[in-house]
Symmetry: C2
Subunit: 292 residues, 2 copies
C-alpha cells in the first residue's frame, strides 16, 4: 500500500536535488541573475507538476531505460521552472502586484523589477534548453511545453485573466482562463512524462485525460480553499479576489464538479497498470482532501 | 554579381510573408494578445538575423532538401521572434522605458505594460514551438537558441547592461555585454542555418566564426552611428546614452576593430563555396558602409 505523504516527500526531495545540481551556480556571471533564479525556485512549493510528470512516466513501464528516466526528469524540471517563471511574472507590479509569495518577498521586491522580468525570461529559456538535451524525444517534449506555455496556453489564460479584472465573468470566461492558466500545464505534465517514457497511444490518451481532470479539479479546490480563507496567507490584503469558479457556481455545485472530475481521473487510470498507477491515484485522492 | 539590395529586399519580403502566414491570426483568442504580437513584428526592421540564418544555410549545399529548407526557415523565423521579444521587454518602463520604437509607440504604450510582458513571453514560447516542429534537427536548433537566449546569453547581457547603468564601464564589461546581448544571437543565426542545412563540421566552424565576427562588427558600427547621432530618431530625449564601446576606445580604434573583424569574417568565408558565400560576403561589406 502506497504511503502518499512519504512518496510525495521523496519525489519533492529528488526534484529539489536535481534542480540544485543542474541550475547554474549562484556565482555564475551575472551572479545577481543566477542568485535570483535560485531564490525564485528555493524553497519550492508542492512541486506538483514535476511530481505528476515523473509519476506518469512510472505508469508506462516497470523498467524504464536510463534514457527514458533522464528524459522524464528533464521534462519534470522544465515544467517546474516554466511554472516558476509564470509566477515571477504574475507577481510583477504591472500584473498582480504581489509583495509576498510563500511568506517571502517576491522576486521583484527582493531583486528589482527589471531583474524579475529577466529572471522569468531566463527560466523560460532554460526550460527549453533542458528539454532539448533530453536523450529521448527532445523535440516532441519541447513542442508539448511550448504550446502549453504559449499564447494559446498559459500566457493566453493570463491575458484573459487580466482583461476580466473588475468585471463579472461569464462561466465560459472562467472556464477559458482556468483551462489555459492552470489546466494546460497539468495536461502537459502527464503527457510529457508519458512521452518521455515511450507510452503507447492508449497510455498517452489515458494520461492526457487524467491530467485534464486533475488540473480542473485542482483549480476548483483552489477556489474553494480561497473562499474559506478570503485573505490567503502571504498575500497583501485589499486586493481584488482572484477569478473564481464560485462567481459562476455554488459551493455545492463546485464540490459536485470535483467529485465528477476525480471520477473521470480514476476512469482514465483504470486503463493503466494497477500497481504502477498507485501514485497518480493517490494524488487524485489527495486533491479531494487538500487543505493547502 | 550579387545585387545586395535586391537580395536583402527579396529575403525580407519572404521572411515577412512567412511570419504573417505562420503567426496565429490577430482574431485568435485572446485577440488583444495576438494583435499585439503582430504589432510588435510588423512592420519589421532589417530582419538581419533571419537573413543571416537563411544565407548561412544556402552556403552549405547547392541543392538543399525541402526538409532542410523548411528547418532553415523555421530557424530564421524563430530568431526573429526571439529577438523581437527581447526588444519588447527591453522597452518596458522598468528597463529602458522607451515610448517609441521605429517611430511608433512601443508595445507597452500601445497595449499596456502587462500585455507587453505577456507578448514577450508568448513570442519566446512560440520561437521554441516553431523550432520543435522543424523536420530536421529540431532538438539541436532548440538547444542553440535556448542557450543563446538564456541567462548566459542575451538575458545575461541585459542584466549586466542594467547593472552598468550610470557607472563608468571597464572594457571587459563592455565586451561581456556586447558579446551576450548582441553577439550570441548573431552566432546562433549562422550556426542554426548551418545546422538546419546539414553543414559539415568545417562548414559549421567557418559559419560560427563568420557569425561571431559579424556580430561584433555590427555592434561597434551601431555605437559609431549612435555617436554621430546622439539622440537617435524615435527615442525619447534626455535618456542616458546606451553603453558604447566608445567609452573604452577611440573612434579610430573602433573603426580599426571593425576592419579587423570584417577581415576575420572574410577569412572564415574563404573556407566556403565561392559562389554560395556571396550573400554573406555582401552583408559583411554592408556592415562597413552601414548608415542605419
Amino acid at each position: 500500500m502506497l504511503d502518499l505523504d512519504t512518496y510525495l516527500r521523496k519525489q519533492r526531495d529528488q526534484i529539489d536535488r536535481e534542480l540544485d545540481r543542474r541550475l547554474p551556480a549562484a556565482s555564475t556571471r551575472p551572479a545577481v541573475l543566477h542568485t535570483a533564479m535560485r531564490y525564485s525556485l528555493f524553497p519550492g512549493g508542492k512541486r506538483l507538476r514535476p511530481i505528476l510528470c515523473l509519476a506518469a512516466a512510472e505508469t508506462v513501464s516497470a523498467a524504464l531505460s536510463p534514457a527514458a528516466r533522464e528524459s522524464a526528469m528533464r521534462a519534470a524540471l522544465a515544467l517546474e521552472i516554466l511554472h516558476t517563471y509564470t509566477l515571477v511574472h504574475d507577481d510583477l507590479p504591472c500584473m498582480d502586484d504581489d509583495a509576498l509569495r510563500r511568506g517571502r518577498p517576491t522576486v521583484h521586491v527582493a531583486y528589482g523589477e527589471a531583474n524579475a522580468v529577466l529572471v522569468g525570461d531566463a527560466l523560460q529559456a532554460l526550460a527549453f534548453a533542458w528539454l532539448a538535451g533530453a536523450p529521448e524525444d527532445g523535440a516532441q517534449l519541447v513542442a508539448e511545453l511550448a504550446i502549453a506555455a504559449g499564447s494559446q496556453g498559459v500566457v493566453g489564460g493570463q491575458v484573459e485573466d487580466i482583461a476580466a479584472a473588475g468585471k463579472t465573468p461569464t462561466a465560459e470566461t472562467v472556464a477559458f482562463i482556468h483551462q489555459h492558466k492552470t489546466g494546460d500545464l497539468f495536461r502537459a505534465a502527464t503527457r510529457m512524462g508519458a512521452i518521455a517514457a515511450g507510452a503507447s497511444p492508449t497510455q498517452l490518451d489515458a494520461l492526457t485525460r487524467y491530467g485534464d481532470a486533475l488540473g480542473a479539479a485542482f483549480q476548483i479546490t483552489d477556489d474553494l480553499l480561497d473562499a474559506g480563507d478570503p485573505v490567503s496567507a502571504g498575500s497583501a490584503p485589499a486586493r481584488p479576489p482572484p477569478l473564481s469558479c464560485l462567481s459562476v457556481m455554488t459551493v455545492d455545485e463546485a464540490q459536485d464538479q470535483v467529485r465528477k472530475l476525480l471520477q473521470a481521473a480514476d476512469q482514465a487510470l483504470a486503463e493503466l497498470d494497477a500497481i504502477r498507477r498507485a501514485p497518480l491515484a493517490g494524488i487524485a485522492r489527495g486533491i479531494k482532501d487538500r487543505k493547502t
